[in-house]
Symmetry: D2
Subunit: 465 residues, 4 copies
């Protein structure tokens, strides 16, 4: 193994690569929750990011044709090369924790993967894809690993785990407020040995990719069920099934995110075998609930990585002597130093929030960490948008352009304030959860008042009512 520097003992490496890329204090807080394997993997990942991923970002960009048709038919070569290298290094499927997925998972906890997700977040989409940890494949693999039949796992999960194919998750619908999943209208009906799907979806990430071979489609199989949470089912639809129509790519601030894309898709009388039903009739809601927990934390940690990268870029710019104005460095003007300090403080506290949520998931599963996940979900992407916005401002117009990664970073982060529930939903849920403490607080307040009264009476003082 002497050829590969990434197998060096983690502690021997200097300078400490994680501390450099995250923060010494937050590392200290969770270092002893890392196994030797976790540390080794993290160290490899850091080097892989710096040596392989980041230097390839511009090439990946260049290998994507500008032509509006061709760009959707392209498999970007450098990504496939990076995937081969990553897998050889054992940097593969890091998101899938052995604890929850004994068969296919890697021996990493949520806390461990959280730190790695921050590192990945510095490399954008390319980094996550290179190590086979990119949405929506991650959630889809979790779904099939947890709920899929052996046949489904063999046919779809294995090639996904191998990074041979990609996948889409089709939930959001056009003309429907999908932050309330009960509004979904796509119809899923059994006809003999087949399931017939009809629906109009959009924002289907991955649907544009030539490598995508399946869509997990959520729809209503029992729309009249009295229990509104048992009306839905999830079906696996081959991407090339007749009736699957990719209408157009949706754009985010002008970006089409080809070749993956976020497409508008119509399912018109699509027929699949009944064996493609996942888990069982009426269990769609259960499936999407299970799909969302840790994934949100991973998005948050990647956002923190992005924000950290943006802050680094900002510091580079404001200390660049070729950018002086009025005989001063940019950082010597106005509020720049204060904005850097605030950004640093916000990144540190956001990271701690997400780490705390990740640990809570490790201890109590996602269900016992809903408050922490909810807080992270509404705090972190908004925070990251703010940090990136400040960095853009420091770069002037260049910061908004294709010459810097900041504007596309902002666009990605901005979607996270909506994806998996808009900020507002999470804010309300966290607030409502707090309100549940009210009875306990009223009880304690009543007890306190009683004791207070006793203490005052004993001292001969008449309490003001």
């Amino acid at each position: 193994m002497s050829r590969c520097p990434h197998t060096l003992n983690y502690h021997a490496m200097a300078p400490h690569p994680v501390v450099e890329l995250t923060s010494e204090a937050s590392w200290n807080l969770i270092e002893d929750r890392f196994t030797p394997y976790g540390k080794e993997t993290l160290a490899k990942l850091v080097y892989f990011l710096q040596d392989e991923i980041l230097p390839s970002v511009k090439l990946a960009h260049a290998q994507l044709p500008k032509d509006p048709v061709q760009r959707w038919k392209t498999v970007i070569p450098v990504i496939e090369e990076l995937k081969v290298k990553a897998r050889k290094l054992g940097l593969w499927n890091l998101f899938l924790s052995k604890t929850h997925y004994p068969e296919h998972g890697v021996p990493l906890t949520n806390v461990e993967y959280a730190v790695m997700a921050e590192i990945l977040g510095r490399g954008g989409h390319l980094a996550s894809e290179a190590v086979n940890c990119s949405a929506p494949d991650t959630g889809n693999m979790e779904v099939i690993a947890r709920y899929g039949s052996p046949e489904q796992q063999k046919k779809w999960l294995v090639p996904l785990l191998n990074g041979e194919i990609r996948s889409a998750f089709a939930m959001t619908e056009r003309f429907v407020s999908s932050s309330d999943a009960r509004n979904i209208k796509t119809s899923i009906k059994r006809e003999g040995d087949e399931i017939v799907i009809n629906g109009h979806k959009w924002w289907i990430s991955g649907a544009g990719d030539p490598r995508t071979k399946l869509h997990l489609v959520m729809g209503k199989s029992d729309p009249d069920n009295a229990n509104v949470y048992q009306q839905q089912s999830v079906v696996i639809v081959p991407a090339d099934a007749p009736g699957v129509k990719i209408i157009r790519p949706m754009e985010i601030f002008g970006y089409d995110d080809a070749p993956e894309g976020h497409c508008e898709v119509i399912y018109e009388n699509v027929r699949v075998p009944v064996g493609n039903l996942v888990l069982g009739w009426g269990r769609g809601f259960e499936i999407i609930q299970g799909r969302l927990g840790p994934g949100r934390i991973h998005h948050c940690m990647r956002s923190i990585g992005a924000a950290s990268r943006a802050l680094d870029l900002m510091i580079e710019r404001v200390t660049d002597p070729t950018r002086n104005t009025f005989d001063k460095f940019l950082y010597q003007h106005g509020t720049v130093v204060a904005e850097i300090a605030r950004s640093r403080a916000e990144i540190e506290s956001a990271r701690l929030l997400v780490m705390s949520a990740a640990l809570q998931i490790d201890k109590q599963r996602a269900k016992g960490a809903l408050k922490e996940i909810g807080i992270a979900k509404f705090v972190v992407p908004a925070m990251a948008c703010g940090v990136v916005d400040r960095a853009m401002q420091a770069y002037g117009a260049e910061g908004l352009s294709q010459d810097q990664e900041l504007a596309s970073m902002f666009a990605q982060l901005r979607t996270l304030r909506l994806a998996d529930g808009p900020d507002e939903v999470h804010i309300q849920q966290v607030g409502q959860r707090e309100l549940k403490r009210a009875p306990g607080l009223h009880k304690r307040a009543a007890e306190l008042k009683e004791k207070e009264f006793a203490v005052l009476s004993k001292a001969g003082i008449k309490a003001h009512l």
Copy 2:
């Protein structure tokens, strides 16, 4: 003229169209500063926006090819049609005030045009171009009208005023911090009867447009002049002069803003006759100073129009019964009503700030309104970004997409926090201007202390030191 409803008496129109599109209270504040002509023109503009411009936005979009080459060779037909209609209605060159440009201007004050600019801001780029009031042509026309020779005016100003050609203003340079204009490196040298230009510019708005026939190029003609404000000159460069190389369009977020664009341009040994020098050698700084004053206010008012439009869209969405979630209208959830109230308050106060600045320009010219212009410049675009951001959030992912105008509106507004000086520069200037009040304040404080002491002494009370 009975065919044209726009000549109807302004006061007879119901419902009051300006009040509907701006606000009754702010209209009341400045109504009596409008001449009958101003009111008439405003009324026409409102109808023209609603009847002609807004219904044409999607068509203009559709008429722009997606092909990355063709889109830069296109003159969008509907824009040219709208220009013809607008001119017939007298909605033409409204930005050019007769007060300052007696020959070519229209009889409107800054206050009057400010209100119209807000209306235009609701129609985006299309609206401004339809009435020949779009940057950078506006500023360029002002420059040539004020500083150009009769020959220059005849050759360039007249077709610009007629909307027959377009133009670019080339100041910002690549690899240079251009918020300090003294950093500019482009070389402008006289060689015999010619001027030779060499430089590397970018963010040259309009340079991509096939109709653009001239660039106003700012560069250094006397880089060793002890007075750093006399080193620069401005030259008119025909767009098709040999050596003018359009390198690429810069993108803002993912938008290229074709066909106008914001291009990277290299001027390589470009030669023009000496007669193309504007105003005189070493007077470039003077020219750009004069160019920036009222233009900033116009940008601000358009931003307010954009924010108003965004708020309208937000209200439409949150009251749309087809968008209900959890059996409630969107507006019945969480903080939506409060965000609408805050947006309204911010729009109202921003409008008042800009109106106050416009009036100050009318009374004291731009020089006497620097404080007001500076405040508007750093308050308004940031405010508008915030309002649009809330509206995007209400629309979910659709709000970030090409199906709504919000995301591109955000991108445009975001550039205004950088164009004509980043927010930070204006904040510092306004702050420094406040500090100039210090001597007066110290003097008054000393007088007060003296009187205070006298009052206390007279009352027999020893002042605590």
Copy 3:
């Protein structure tokens, strides 16, 4: 009158005193709405503030005993002296507009008084009281002037207008959420020729003052009335009536605001003649509605005066050479200049908001200005708290202490975010008012869609649905 410099022609005064104390641009916006009398009065007020009121603040403080009993029995001598001077100068009852109160009012519009209220706001409580424009007397005088019987006016209004007595307004109740006025519990019953009042109020401003001779008490006279807005009545209660019990002064952040105070008051079987009923049985709600409109604007303008004063103090401090740290002026550190710029921008826009509301009241009465009043109400006090907070920070611990006026200014301003309805109520009302525009917006959007479709069809383009 040659003895009095305040009768000098306003325009002859240099430097322009109002512009110095407010802002040139906002003055320009409303100058031509001032009558010569208005300008004259404003000029006198400015000089009176600087020459008489501000130098007396410390003396007024010193003349108030620290003893917890004596301070509530004190009439501060310098205030009474200032009142005599003010009245001689014609600076008296400026809040009472002749337009609405032809008999007792002064010939000033709301816009004119708004500017004066800002000036008064720089002098704190002392200034308002010196010119007989201090709450709650102002509102009480308006009530009795508008709704009182001739006997009530003779007995109570005349001495109030003369500044001979003071008054209290008793609405807020202990143990009751009084932001919903319908919750009020105080009982007002007729028994023969008498009215019997029983209730438990608090935060009764003025109730502590030895000069206070009457309380206007709001209570329920008809609690079972089906119309919840006709259950209430207002009665004049002499301050010395048997059964009126001042329980204790309420404190605001540690301040008791003696001698006026904000007291807890119990009315226990208080009996007054039926002639003390104001306006009529069941008309209490109508009375308090009428009482609140313009008063809110006056509070807002005083807040702007306070904020302006705080900003002046901040500028004085950060430019004070004796306060240098690390060899720099305070303003040369960190974000100080930016905070000053932001404060200036916030003050300017807040002033414009209130002026616009005041003008709207002049044009449409308070009812037609509810949006503008509501916006001002939730924007201005919060803004002023923020500006004062920054100024406190610049002064260090001294800024929080009795040696500067900032901390008590903050406490006063903080109450204004609650008085006359908490911010939240006004935010909701402004938001709801915006939502009322929804039907119009939906209608216009539908029309636009139709036109858009026609335009696209005509051009042979099939609109994307």
Copy 4:
């Protein structure tokens, strides 16, 4: 020991008292850093807070006379009783870590005490004093324990550790910007066997207390020393030494914080023996530097306790059915739920920041935790002020009054944005520290550019310059 419930096994207690008072997730993050002794002590402290301290707050208030003279001569009986109880329970001097103070300290780490400080923060000043952990005594004990001579320790430290006497720390000076400690003017001169002190200090906490027996006075003993950090010395001055003149109590907002107070003190020719010099001549700067590190973290954790308490109070109020308005609970109005969610998120992330800083201190001492301490210092008190402000708003005017602890809590927290360096100083320091990463970032960026170029070249693509 069966009499004392506080010796019960910590884990047997239900419901888990710390989790209830702090948060499960943050407790999970640091639980395994607690020794059994740490857990036991924490459990006792929680019960002591609830059973003894909180019920005594009003009594302590009542036992303080209102008379402006007597209140400064009072030893509040209930505090002394609580001290006796606390000491018996082993809840004593918890701030003094055995790690750093082997002789006098308790076996608690900074992380352990941090959690306890949050608990203390819920009980305000009374809680900290009851367990002998209140400033400025804590810092003074640390100074004498670390730097004091055996005689000084015997005479002053022992009674301080026993809670028999109190102390003051005299650094801040009137008319001097003390955020730059080099500005200090107080003179400390040796004359024979005596030291003579002359100076004018203010904001000397504890100087008003009748139990205070010593002042640690910082001044200049060698003002001409070329090394500006060796000009200062610290001397112990007995509180009753001739020439120690307590001028007046400073107020914070309207609070005098009697009997402790924050006094203006003049030292006029005060003479003490040379043995009262601490550590050595010219070592004053070293002493104050050592005094400030962990103390800042303790203040921060107490602030978090205060904020948590305020949020609890807010939740109590908005769920109180007697406070309904317009037929709704307060929490059903407007933005209340969102504000609660935000407050919760801010408290959680602030707590994590401080815990992370405390752990960093445990690992790297204060010197290795400057970034973390700095961030906590400028984030936490401002956050806590915000949370308390929202709670005040929910309580209406009552929230600003003496009937709720919120307003005085706000005043205390507001001082923490200034004490031990204003926010601005810490923001600048954290920002400057970030800028030190610039060389490393530039180096890595250069390397990345090189690799990127190699990657592109290898792929045959010419990089855009």
